[in-house]
């Protein structure tokens, strides 16, 4: 120990098949962000615009897994982050994007790209730049191991704050009454 302030925790965040609403909820912790920045340093995140995730203590992921790129990013986060949090309904359950799970993927592509006559409707996009969709949308924990879940659409800022401060204090985070609901 050199007597200086303790090392800041490194935190990375990303959105997979999500709407960034959960990230808005992160911003919604408002002025407490300043207190948080005393203790954490953001790695890859829309806040920093860093594109590659480095070795982190904590990864926070919004959105489910709907395509090949999501799988890759999620696995990258799992490898680089000691602790992974699934943030919000889509990450926890698949959420809105998972509503397509009752339909077959070929049927959906057919309907979207081939249902109108004419040349411009004839092709399903096949550019290698575009990630291929999985046949179903999955919650994060069906693809990698997840350590903590924060439910909600989006989760309230207070719930995010409670989990983060809990983890910073080295406690097992628990939302408890008022911050978690069934149905």
């Amino acid at each position: 120990m050199d007597g200086t302030a303790p090392r800041k925790l490194k935190v990375a965040t990303t959105s997979l098949a999500g709407c960034f609403g959960c990230h808005m909820s992160i911003l919604d912790i408002d002025e407490r962000l300043f207190a948080l920045l005393e203790k954490v340093e953001f790695d890859r995140s829309p806040i920093t615009d860093i594109k590659e995730v480095g070795q982190c203590d904590l990864g926070i992921i919004e959105g489910g897994v709907c395509n090949a790129e999501n799988v890759e990013v999620l696995r990258e986060f799992r490898r680089r982050c000691k602790v992974l949090i699934a943030l919000g309904a889509c990450a926890v359950n698949g959420g809105l994007p998972a509503q397509r799970n009752t339909l077959s993927l070929p049927l959906i592509l057919q309907e979207v790209y081939r249902s109108e006559p004419g040349a411009r409707y004839g092709l399903i996009p096949n550019d290698p730049e575009l990630p291929l969709p999985l046949n179903k949308v999955h919650p994060l924990h069906e693809v990698v191991r997840i350590d903590h879940f924060i439910p909600g659409c989006p989760p309230p800022a207070d719930a995010i704050w409670k989990v983060l401060t809990g983890l910073l204090e080295g406690k097992e985070p628990a939302l408890g009454h008022g911050l978690i609901h069934f149905d």
Partner: protein, 606 residues
């Protein structure tokens, strides 16, 4: 040329007939829908139109009820609807192979209606014929002892469109298989004798005898029957009701079926005793849909008892002692065995369990005091009335008086019904039924206890192993993990869907067990199963959710090795193949570049 299945009747006519038969009483909605289903083979929208208009019920309510029960179809079903009983005991007798054989023979995919609308083949929860399985239901009627030969015969009958009523009677033969009789099954019944004995004294005296007998509920929970009758008698209300619970849905149980077939008089006489004791004037027998084949017999017994003045007005000539019984038939919902769900179902609603308290004994059918007893409890009450509470209390153990019908199935020479005084050792039952090299028994069905060989000295009694009757035997060759997995599938199928912890939790537990079975298990998944069990136990609305994890907890505690073997991976891995999950998109786009694949995790990290 065999006669063909008749053309389905006009849906509107079927609905009108059903409503008239049930006096246009909305409380009878479920019974009406059952009638329409029996007449048409499904519930056509036109029939719902008629019921909606005539009974002035919201369409959503009718659809809500119809969609709750698995034997009611809102989409056109096959003219022949074949359901394989899917208890573990049926599987041990080869039911899944026979199901495949039937699907092949009829050119139909499991769970789908054939293209010509002729037939559908699927599975259903245990049909209560574990001692003579594999069993199926054909248009609601039970066919027993399936063999390859019988499957082929059935395929031919279906293809020739021979009505099930003209099939060989032997197919529908249901044996009683009673191998040991004691106080209840060994007593010859003279209808009316127990009632005469009771009527010689006051209702209060009968309640006192019942309390002295210490007779406890035979459905599994073991609530003292005398206390229940007294509470019902004393609860304030405009009317009192009695309900005999014959919704025997717990897999492995079939003693209600045997009692109904053999001792229906004792059951109805017990109900009349209950009426004398509580002051009830109306009673119901709730018969599970799977036992539809017993309905005509039971109605005949009721008719005979009415003629003998053992039911109806002024029973045995006693002015003011009026009591009659109506039979309600269920439609394939295990949860309706729970007494408050059963009452909801009696009232023509979805079988969603109520909040308890208040208990049915103060606020039951139509909000009035209602005593719900298992049919075996009612039958046993006749012995109390005939021979006295003290005599009855002398049988069995101090806390579990009397005898119990035990339903033995699985790996043994003589499956069937064995009646023992309470307190019998598991070992004794196994010796009597000819079970060898037994690894474990499941007592009281999936929601009960898994008992390994080292504990066969334990006793069937409320002090040790409480039971509704089922005792499924598993020999050394059986995989206890697969037993638990079958039970978990059962609960996921039967969850009523009302509360999230059970609706979602039972499905998650099922998926977890399947993941282990499919070779994708890791210690992480095992820990997740533990968490789910806790959640189900602590958060569910009713007993179904509370006990859904029992088979898993029991087998983990006693047969941990069966799980350990399946935790093949040290690290978490998905339950499905990620690369294969992209196959459809690859095919649609014609892509096969590197980004169109998901590499195995090990390759990436290397």
């Amino acid at each position: 040329m065999p006669s063909k299945v008749r053309n389905a009747p006009d849906p509107a006519q079927a609905a009108a007939t059903a409503m008239a038969r049930h006096r246009h009483d909305p409380l009878e909605l479920l019974q009406m829908l059952r009638d329409v289903e029996e007449a048409c083979g499904w519930i056509p929208p036109e029939a719902i139109d008629c019921i909606e208009a005539r009974l002035a019920l919201p369409r959503a309510k009718i659809l809500g009820v119809a969609s709750f029960y698995s034997f009611l179809h809102l989409k056109r079903a096959g003219r022949y609807r074949i359901l394989f009983s899917d208890n573990i005991t049926d599987r041990m007798l080869g039911s899944l192979g026979l199901l495949d054989r039937m699907c092949r023979g009829l050119w139909v995919e499991r769970g789908k209606v054939s293209e010509d609308g002729l037939v559908s083949v699927d599975t259903t929860s245990c049909t209560g014929l574990c001692d003579q399985g594999p069993a199926i239901l054909v248009n609601g009627l039970a066919v027993t002892r399936l063999t390859e030969r019988r499957v082929d015969d059935i395929c031919e009958l279906v293809r020739d469109e021979v009505p099930p009523g003209e099939w060989p009677a032997d197919f529908f033969r249901v044996e009683d298989n009673i191998h040991r009789r004691d106080a209840l099954l060994g007593t010859p019944w003279l209808p009316g004798r127990a009632l005469e004995a009771a009527l010689a004294r006051s209702p209060e005296d009968l309640v006192a005898e019942m309390k002295a007998s210490k007779l406890r509920g035979r459905g599994g929970a073991g609530f003292p029957a005398g206390l229940k009758w007294q509470a019902c008698r004393e609860a304030p209300g405009k009317a009192r009701y009695l309900v005999a619970n014959a919704d025997e849905g717990e897999p492995g149980n079939f003693k209600d079926r045997v009692l109904l077939a053999n001792a229906a008089d004792a059951i109805f006489e017990g109900m009349a005793l209950g009426a004398w004791a509580t002051g009830a004037r109306r009673g119901f027998l709730y018969l599970r849909g799977e036992y539809r084949f017993l309905l005509d017999h039971l109605e005949a017994v009721l008719e005979r008892r009415r003629a003998a003045r053992l039911l109806g007005e002024s029973i045995l000539g006693r002015e003011g002692f009026d009591f009659d019984v109506a039979i309600h038939v269920g439609a394939g919902a295990y949860v309706c065995g729970e007494e408050s769900a059963l009452i909801e179902s009696l009232e023509g609603k979805r079988g969603t369990p109520r909040n308890r308290p208040p208990y049915p004994v103060t606020q039951g059918y139509l909000g009035q005091p209602t005593a719900v007893n298992n049919v075996e409890t009612f039958a046993a009450s006749c012995l109390v009335a005939l021979k006295g509470g003290a005599w009855y209390a002398g049988i069995g153990t101090p806390e579990s008086t009397g005898t119990k019908l035990v339903c033995v199935s699985g790996d043994c020479e003589q499956p069937g019904i064995y009646e023992y005084p309470f307190g019998v050792e598991v070992r004794q039952v196994l010796a009597d039924c000819g079970a060898r090299l037994t690894q474990a028994v499941q007592v009281s069905g999936p929601s009960g206890a898994t008992v390994p060989a080292a504990e066969f000295g334990r006793r069937l009694a409320f002090e040790d192993l409480p039971t509704a009757g089922a005792l499924m035997v598993f020999n050394e060759r059986r995989d206890m993990f697969e037993v638990a997995r079958n039970f978990v599938h059962f609960f996921a199928h039967e969850s009523c869907g009302f509360c999230t912890p059970c609706r979602v939790g039972t499905s998650l537990l099922r998926n977890m067990m399947d993941k282990l079975a499919n070779g994708h298990g890791s210690p992480y998944d095992f820990a997740e199963i533990g968490k789910l069990n806790l959640l189900l136990q602590s958060m569910s609305h009713c007993g179904l959710g509370h006990s859904a994890c029992n088979p898993v907890l029991g087998t983990i505690a006693k047969f941990r090795g069966a799980y350990q073997r399946r935790l093949a991976h040290e690290e978490f891995e998905p339950a499905f193949d990620l690369d294969r999950a992209l196959a459809a998109a690859r095919q649609m786009t014609g892509r096969d570049d590197a980004a169109a694949h998901v590499r195995p995790e090990t390759e990436e990290t290397a």
